[in-house]
Amino acid sequence: MIISVASGKGGTGKTTVAVSLALAAEYCQFADYDVEAPNADIFLKPGIKNIKKVTIKHPYFLTDTDKDFSGCAKFCHYNAVAVIGTEVLFYPQLCHGCGGCILVGPEGAVREKDVEVGEVSKGFSRPGIDFLEGNLIPGSMRTTTVQNELEKMINRSGLVIIDSPPGNSCSMVMSVKNSDYCILVTEPTPYGFNDLLISMDVLDSLKIPYGVIINRDGIGDTVVEDYCNAQNKKILLKIPNDIEIAKCYSRGGTLFDYDKSYKEKFQKTLEEIENSIFQ
């Protein structure tokens, strides 16, 4: 069973919730899909056991052969290749590594080489959490390539918790697309509400069931709660706006360090989700 934790707005508490779920479950796989800025390791403190490099193929052009490469430029949907006369210009930051230019270019004159875009790490965290994390090289655009590598390591026969990056674009879709259930974390503010609606739209399109956790309950307004009640959207939990939680977080502590009773609350949430999936 895969449960993903996502949020349109950043900084609403995705990692706080995902970490709490993992610790409440005690035995699970945890995957930090926020490869541009992974941070769940701060709270789960896994001992990283092995690291694997993630690479993509970039083309290089043997231009001393006097062949016509203009087909490569015409083919490239991302404009990563430009051909001016006999000169070939390659823009690595635009290349998606599809290999198309090799197929349409002069035979044998377009070659491939491996380019590193990031790495995936594997470790173990107490009590029984298999920890996975992706790290994208700063400046690289290949977020979903690194996430794809994480996906290969997921074992959905047990419980899997996926911590999604913020937003509602490709990298979020990659994080939630295989889940049996998604938890949307939000804060009760106009910004949080606006981005929550977009997330709901994404999940409705993907036909993934979801529920809402309202974090920093007490700030802002009641618009999120009113909407959820009116539209029959499940509110799984509310976490209060308490400076002590922030203090605890900034020391690398979890919600359970702040208040032990959260373990039981999250266990109940997990149970509720399981029941709603297998009803």
Partner: protein
């Protein structure tokens, strides 16, 4: 000799568009015959690399100079490879920009003057 001006419209009375890769039209003006043609910029809506694609289109037109508001680093590389001179900071009516060029009042730019993605709307 032909020059290219990035334009908001299809006539010489249109305004110079400040973006190279994502301008709506290119005016290709022939100085010798005082005639012009316009081409719609098909790269305008591309996801990325608009300047790279537009640069190749302009290079194929065999112009010797491009007048625009700004050139990003990707477009700059293409136009430089095609030996096309670039004049940035050009604004106002296309017709007047051509006059300034003829009178030698424009200064050739030797490097890209904006970052990638300038023309995608965040700055204008």
């Amino acid at each position: 000799m032909k020059i290219c001006i990035t334009s908001t419209g299809s006539s010489l009375d249109s305004n110079v568009d400040p973006r190279f890769g994502r301008c709506p039209y290119f005016i290709i003006y022939d100085i010798g015959s005082d005639t012009f043609e316009f081409i719609e910029n098909g790269s305008r809506q591309s996801m990325g690399g608009a300047g790279i694609q537009a640069g190749q289109v302009i290079a194929a037109k065999e112009v010797s100079a491009v007048l625009s508001g700004n050139f990003g680093p990707n477009a700059f590389r293409v136009l430089q490879a095609a030996n096309i001179k670039m004049y940035s900071g050009v604004s106002g009516i296309v017709r007047e920009a051509i006059e300034k060029y003829k009178n030698g009042q424009l200064v050739e730019t030797s490097s890209a003057n904006v970052e990638s993605h300038y023309g995608m709307g965040k700055n204008s």
